[in-house]
Symmetry: none
Subunit: 209 residues, 4 copies
Amino acid sequence: MRDMKRPTRKPAAPRRQRTEDRRPQIADAALRILASKGAGHLTAAELGREVGIADSTIFRHYRDMEEVVLAAIDRVRVLLDETFPPADGRPLDRLRALFFARLALMHQHPEVLRLATSDRLEQVAGPEGARRLRETIQQSRRFIDACLREAQVEGDVPASLDLTILGWVVRGTLQVAVASTAGPRPAEPRTPEEIWAVLEKLLRGTRTP
Amino acid sequence: MRDMKRPTRKPAAPRRQRTEDRRPQIADAALRILASKGAGHLTAAELGREVGIADSTIFRHYRDMEEVVLAAIDRVRVLLDETFPPADGRPLDRLRALFFARLALMHQHPEVLRLATSDRLEQVAGPEGARRLRETIQQSRRFIDACLREAQVEGDVPASLDLTILGWVVRGTLQVAVASTAGPRPAEPRTPEEIWAVLEKLLRGTRTP
Amino acid sequence: MRDMKRPTRKPAAPRRQRTEDRRPQIADAALRILASKGAGHLTAAELGREVGIADSTIFRHYRDMEEVVLAAIDRVRVLLDETFPPADGRPLDRLRALFFARLALMHQHPEVLRLATSDRLEQVAGPEGARRLRETIQQSRRFIDACLREAQVEGDVPASLDLTILGWVVRGTLQVAVASTAGPRPAEPRTPEEIWAVLEKLLRGTRTP
Amino acid sequence: MRDMKRPTRKPAAPRRQRTEDRRPQIADAALRILASKGAGHLTAAELGREVGIADSTIFRHYRDMEEVVLAAIDRVRVLLDETFPPADGRPLDRLRALFFARLALMHQHPEVLRLATSDRLEQVAGPEGARRLRETIQQSRRFIDACLREAQVEGDVPASLDLTILGWVVRGTLQVAVASTAGPRPAEPRTPEEIWAVLEKLLRGTRTP
DNA sequence: CATGAATGAGATTTCATTCAT
DNA sequence: TATGAATGAAATCTCATTCAT
């Protein structure tokens, strides 16, 4: 009710498309709504409006709303998966690559940011969605921890520091950095290079004798 | 009135309490629900069930649901406010004090964690709630930045490192640490001392000559 | 909800009064609300506010809201009853007296107007209230018809005219006159004398040879 | 969505009709309820029962209850508009035509009577409905006044009589006549001809020299 | 006598979902 | 494939009324 006038009508996508084409359209629309208006606005009606079809048509392509959310989550998972760099090279370089790829992804797809950090989505997505989301997050965690472990072995990062906690530092920094630089116009923009430079110095040890 | 049909009224049994007592009970229940089930489950019915009163009774104590959420937010704000240490002492000590206080708070009140990090609560809380929440978050940011700035001036933290980004590191670490150690049974528990030790070493510079 | 702010607090009548005193206060308040805001706003809460007591206190003095409305109706009935002039004198004079008394009453108690003409009140008041209301209206009808009948007998009004229809003319004129001159600031005010003059001329026959 | 619990959905049996058909059905039902049971009973549930659809279905065809009432009012307005006779002919003839048309309308559509005379509908209808209703009433007033003014000019009605008050007489008579002859079984039925005959004689002046 | 707390019924409205066309 | 009509469940909120204090 609050915001009743929504004149943004999509350009009326060509009618009658195949399910194979509609499904990603709907999942993307869900992602967009999730990002711009929040889970509370992700309704069949809103979704239909965004895609340019009737709300009831959603259910020709997905069994129910839960499936739609699941599909949206899976799109995020794919995008996030693509940010994992190849397993070769020096560990801190791999970590930097992930860092850059994540920041870039969040800039191109701010929707993903919301999904990835929204701890509440779990409840929207139901148990299955939560599971998949957790899985993806675990994957990131494992990748980061592996990099750090190797970096300690190779002496790039002081071996005296608790690995788990180092992982928290890296993940936390990434989270806040993404949240602080994505979005319409960040208050204090920093380039990925600047951010990584600081983080790498911290990890390597910054004190010169 | 309207209809004049007055069917069986139940004897209205249970507890009677004063509004002064009920209001915090309701606000706390809201916080608990928010934490355990998410904003989507924060309904008057659920709230009533949690408190042990009828859903309609909620509205004797709060004008509407928005006011309930606002009250819940304010409880969080008070708790968070209390974690700011006095402004004296060395900057990194002040930072550590905040760090410990926040971790302790989140252990005692895991609900707060959810609220404080839920980016979507804004939509639940409405514009006013969002404003208050942002205000509190800004406050933390400013406190941390001030500590880091002083620490740089005093030479505890390398002056060459970008202050803003350092702030992201600290806030991020705190966020992830809280999320990783609060909750029912954390996978890899760490004491606040351990966490802070790592973070402080990173900030001071860990490389020995 | 629409109009939430109602700063008009009554001067806080002395607390603790006897039922005998409270009952008329409540009935009058009901009348006032009915007049100013309509039947839809006649709620126990509003009533309590108007009287200066709690809503639940209403039910110490009246069994339920229906009784309150009934009491309000009875107050109107009393007021209307007092407008019936004595049965002596010439019939058109008696009619004029009623006319004047009714107009005066409606000016002093505009609430009455609303009640008396609100055909819908019947539904608010329930069957009993409707009955009493009809009774009062019947009384007026009979009085007017009696006057007109005698006037015809005495030759003041042409005997050729249908008595029933003449009654409709008189009652209709009275109704519209009251509605048009009562109220805050009537668009085209007329004095009772002016109104009656026209009506009497019509009844007596205005055509001069 | 929110909860994902999807209990037994009934097979959703009865009639399917187009919105174009449903809207007038609903508006008419509203009119009927308004007439028979009063504004207090005009609820979505009652409306649905009257039309034969679920209450929630109302809101597929009208945005909210206010729109329903507005639609009902507009139906009345159309019906009343159609009772205005063409502007030619002698003024008293035009007046008689309106008189007859109104009486006929009220016999065919007794609901209209209630709406047209319900002074409290304004609160049910909201400001916009009240405005439209007032507009229609003004229109009648102006038409009647114009007829009377011309009739005075042409000498059909004594010029000495106050025009405004004459208008009140005519409108009042029409109101009471309608109320007295419409409805299930009027106590003292009169034909439109009989009613008009009396009124016209009064207006023209009945006294023979 | 007075009140504040409590409540069940019901009103409006939203929403996911089904079904006939 | 697409849709509009229909629906039951649930959410928010109002209100008359009861009861313990």
